[in-house]
Symmetry: C2
Subunit: 260 residues, 2 copies
């Protein structure tokens, strides 16, 4: 296999190092990753400035290309321009911090895998639920290897990727794998309002993750219980059930009539 | 109504000016918008640096708060901290350029409305399909007004917002309103590889929008025909049909067994 590896924590993070290490057992690995931390960038693209691809060395050997852009940029530029041939799979991670539930929306890690999917390449994102950058990546790397090794056999439907989240537990406490749905847990946000030395306010995002217990197979709940959650997600955003109701909605009829 | 208006083109764009003008007919308007162009930022959040809210004046009067952040930042900071009370609705736009089909994924305009939805506030995004910053915003403003005036009456389900796209046509050629699904049309990307004066390469994103004719009610197709497309979208990313297939998939059984 020819494997494109990227992430959003930056090309020098511990997570991508661990991921590359295990992916090399599966085939030839090319790394194209941001040159710095790009968390919570969502599905951002760099359009108004040019990108650079700088060779990045690790342990005395070429590790990959460092890009002055976002995770989605890395996949687009890598697949279209930098790579010698089309990769068989795209693997994004290992992210430091959960991308279960609503985190998937903000996640650069997931957006990189989404970009691979948009380009028609089977893709997956892998995240370790600990935000600690010294967290042990052994289990997460094993999970990444196990899922990536069978990714082509799963025949993902067009437009669908796997969002894999791994618990922060010892190998002995790991419960195993579960197919999950995206959970509804979310951030309860607040901003710290502080004063600068000139007495002018500035605002710093803080927040608390609130677990909403709605479905037993929600990815964030499964991970909290010690499972690796595999969530099939897609970028079909249409709410079809509501679309049908809207088409028959009297208010919509009035809106349409307003143009006569 | 108390209306939060934001966008991704920046607080000084023509589109937000036109939007605020018509929203004032519906109630009290507060503007919290990025201090500069933030297109294609996706659902990015600023977490590692503080935000500033600078009063921005237009035509000699206070127009709103300019934020050194993303559209999603503007909604989070506005609702949680800057606004006197919780807004009744969030309206994001008027974007210069289409946010139909796959553009919704990259769109800062849509992400701002998504953030409003995440906070439980009925929200909509409005985009004008012309990228020309001198485009006539009259029709798009009329469409924004018409939909926003009935937004509360539509009783949007939790987690669902309206992505409204307006054609670049004269008022007389406007066909009216249609409920749509997200289209499948997408960008066929390429990077211009250029050399800098030192002979080092740099890469600039270019691309061609490829219309994929799959469903007659796809938002990009309807807009191309002269309709204003109203697409109900949500951030439930789970592919449920495939989830069921995955749960019964022999390869998944093997993956699960690998942990025994």
């Amino acid at each position: 296999m020819y494997i494109l590896v990227t992430n959003d924590d930056g090309i020098d993070s511990a997570g991508i190092h661990a991921l590359v290490h295990v992916m090399r057992r599966l085939g030839e690995v090319v790394v194209v990753a941001p040159d710095r931390q790009q968390s919570a960038v969502g599905h951002a693209l760099t359009v108004s400035s040019p990108l650079r691809a700088t060779p990045f060395h690790r342990d005395g050997e070429m590790f990959g290309y460092a890009i002055n852009g976002t995770p989605a940029d890395c996949v687009k530029l890598g697949v279209s321009t930098l790579l010698e041939r089309r990769p068989d799979i795209v693997v994004s991670g290992i992210n430091h911090g959960s991308n279960a539930s609503v985190n998937a929306i903000y996640s650069g890690t997931v957006s990189a895998a989404t970009e691979g999917t948009l380009m028609g390449i089977p893709s997956m994102a892998v995240s370790h639920t600990s935000f600690d950058h010294r967290a042990d990546m052994t289990l997460a790397a094993e999970v990444a290897y196990t899922v990536a090794s069978r990714l082509l056999d799963l025949h993902l439907p067009a437009g669908t990727l796997l969002n894999v989240n791994v618990p922060d537990v010892d190998r002995s406490s790991f419960k195993g794998y579960r197919i999950a749905r995206q959970g509804y847990s979310e951030w309860k946000d607040a901003y710290d309002t502080r004063m600068d030395p000139q007495g002018r306010p500035y605002y710093w995002l803080s927040g608390e993750f609130v677990t909403i217990q709605e479905h037993a197979d929600a990815d964030d709940l499964l991970v909290a219980e010690g499972w690796a959650a595999i969530t099939p997600i897609h970028y079909e955003l249409t709410n079809f059930a509501y679309l049908e109701r809207l088409q028959a909605h009297p208010v919509v009829a009035e809106i349409c009539a307003s143009n006569r």
